[in-house]
């Protein structure tokens, strides 16, 4: 029993080193364990793939730098897909940290497809007051964002002539790491203005999206890094992009990490019950 007692008293820093090592290893030496294929990512892919060219996809940046590893790759993949399909991309955001992330995406992705700011992509920036922003955009986007993030008046941007309110947008993909996020877009954007909502969310809130998937309030879902990797594969397989796929590259580490966590829980519980039975 002494063995189990020492097992329980292992310093947690050793656990940290084990986890760090197992996560870093596949990044340096890829193990090629592959990626799962999910039905929920396919639904969103098919919707965007079927949109007639020239339509505008709304992207809402509702996350912060901390959630970039999960949400940034999938946002990039969706943007690449939209540009490859000659769709216009309108970006806005409900989190105060959104502007920095949207700026970065604007500098990296449109040039890959020769897309012009104002012509093919516009970034509206962030505004305080979550429900007020969505409801405002439902009536008239200009009333909420008279000028875009750079300060140009919306009238001066050719793309904005065809998009006046939420009803002009065939699908909105909400990249959300918590609240405010896709539920606000459903509760205010969809119920009042019939906005079709899809979401790319951090894995932690993925399981809670299923009631909205079952009623059809959510059209497709990208859940965590796995959802991002699935969409990256879909975009690459249909020849829309051959850019570097960070999410796919990280899936090997995910596999190892999950195995480690499961082993830790099992060993922890075995040691716990072994010592408890002796009344230790």
């Amino acid at each position: 029993m002494k063995f189990f007692q020492t097992l329980l008293r292992i310093d947690r820093r050793i656990i940290y080193l084990v986890v760090a090592g197992l996560v870093m290893l596949p990044l340096v030496r890829p193990l090629g364990l592959g990626v799962t294929s999910g039905p929920r990512a396919q639904v969103l892919f098919d919707v965007i793939d079927s949109l007639p060219s020239g339509k505008t996809v709304l992207i809402s940046v509702d996350f912060d730098p901390a959630s970039m590893p999960e949400l940034y790759p999938m946002m990039a993949a969706v943007m690449r897909h939209a540009f490859a399909r000659d769709l216009k991309v309108l970006i806005c955001g409900l989190w105060v940290t959104g502007p920095g992330l949207a700026d970065r995406a604007l500098s990296e992705i449109p040039p890959e497809y020769g897309k012009e700011y104002g012509e093919d992509v516009v970034y509206l920036g962030w505004k305080a007051g979550v429900d007020a922003v969505i409801l405002g955009m439902g009536e008239n986007i200009k009333s909420v964002f008279p000028v875009d993030y750079q300060g140009h008046p919306l009238e001066s941007l050719p793309m904005m002539n065809e998009v006046a309110k939420l009803r002009d947008i065939p699908i909105a993909v909400i990249f959300s790491a918590g609240d405010p996020g896709y539920r606000d877009w459903i509760r205010y954007g969809q119920t009042r203005y019939g906005l079709r909502v899809s979401a790319g969310i951090t894995a932690v809130s993925a399981a809670d999206a299923y009631p909205y998937l079952q009623t059809g309030q959510l059209t497709g879902l990208l859940a965590g890094m796995k959802g991002g990797a699935e969409y990256e594969i879909l975009v690459q397989k249909s020849g829309y992009s051959n850019a570097y796929m960070p999410a796919v590259a990280a899936m090997d580490s995910q596999s190892l990490a999950h195995v480690v966590i499961m082993l830790l829980v099992i060993v922890g519980n075995v040691a716990y019950f072994a010592t408890r039975k002796r009344g230790a």
Binding site: E70, A223, M225, A257
Partner: protein, 209 residues
């Protein structure tokens, strides 16, 4: 392996390791990073709020275009600062009354529509469940799941007899639901760590692509 020579990347690396040092133990370097974070985050919020919200939504219409009606939200907003003046600190109740009243008034119909009516509609068993025996069984299981989970959150009667059985079934479904969330959360946490390692290994040490 070519280590980055960009001073800004090194700054980011130092701060990353500063936060990671909290894993070893709480130390002055971590405290510095923690307080730096608090200050920068607050400053960033101020700047973005000013440039994106206060200036275009209030300053331009009120002072630029002279729409005097906007002096009302300005006054309401300023009342927030009455909190720092003890004698008139009760003034803060006006902006709060406006914010809470408006938010509640908007939230009620929206919540009833999206979270109640729509979810009830999704729970109905329709003849389509007879399509296949497994569709039928899963539909029945989901239906029993929703009903029993709701009964777990029933507080008006002691959980005895049938109600006890229902709430015990309910807790099983709730635990499976939380287990599913738990599983996904492991992926979420690991993704963030992988993201930081990708930054350290690629942008800093240049070991990976």
């Amino acid at each position: 392996m070519h280590v980055s020579t960009d001073i800004l990347t090194w700054l980011a690396v130092v701060l990353t390791l500063g936060i990671f040092s909290f894993l070893w133990k709480d130390n002055p370097f971590y405290k510095f990073c923690e307080h730096l974070f608090v200050g920068v985050a607050a400053g960033y919020t101020i700047c973005v709020t000013w440039h994106n919200s206060v200036y275009p939504d209030l300053i331009t219409p009120l002072f630029g275009q002279g729409q005097l009606l906007f002096s009302i939200p300005l006054l309401l907003g300023l009342c927030y600062f009455a909190r720092f003046i003890p004698r008139v600190s009760w003034l803060i109740r006006f902006p709060m009354a406006f914010v809470l009243g408006w938010a509640s008034g908007v939230a009620i119909p929206a919540a009833l529509q999206a979270d109640v009516l729509r979810q009830v509609q999704g729970t109905f068993l329709t003849p389509s469940i007879f399509a296949r025996w497994d569709v039928f069984l899963w539909a029945l299981i989901s239906f029993v799941g929703v009903v029993s989970s709701i009964l777990y959150f029933f507080f008006s009667r002691e959980h005895k007899g049938a109600l006890k059985l229902a709430s015990e079934t309910g807790i099983i479904f709730l635990m499976v639901g939380f287990g599913a969330s738990f599983g996904y959360t492991v992926m979420a946490r690991m993704s963030l760590l992988i993201g930081r390692f990708q930054f350290l290994l690629r942008d800093w040490l240049g070991v990976i692509r």
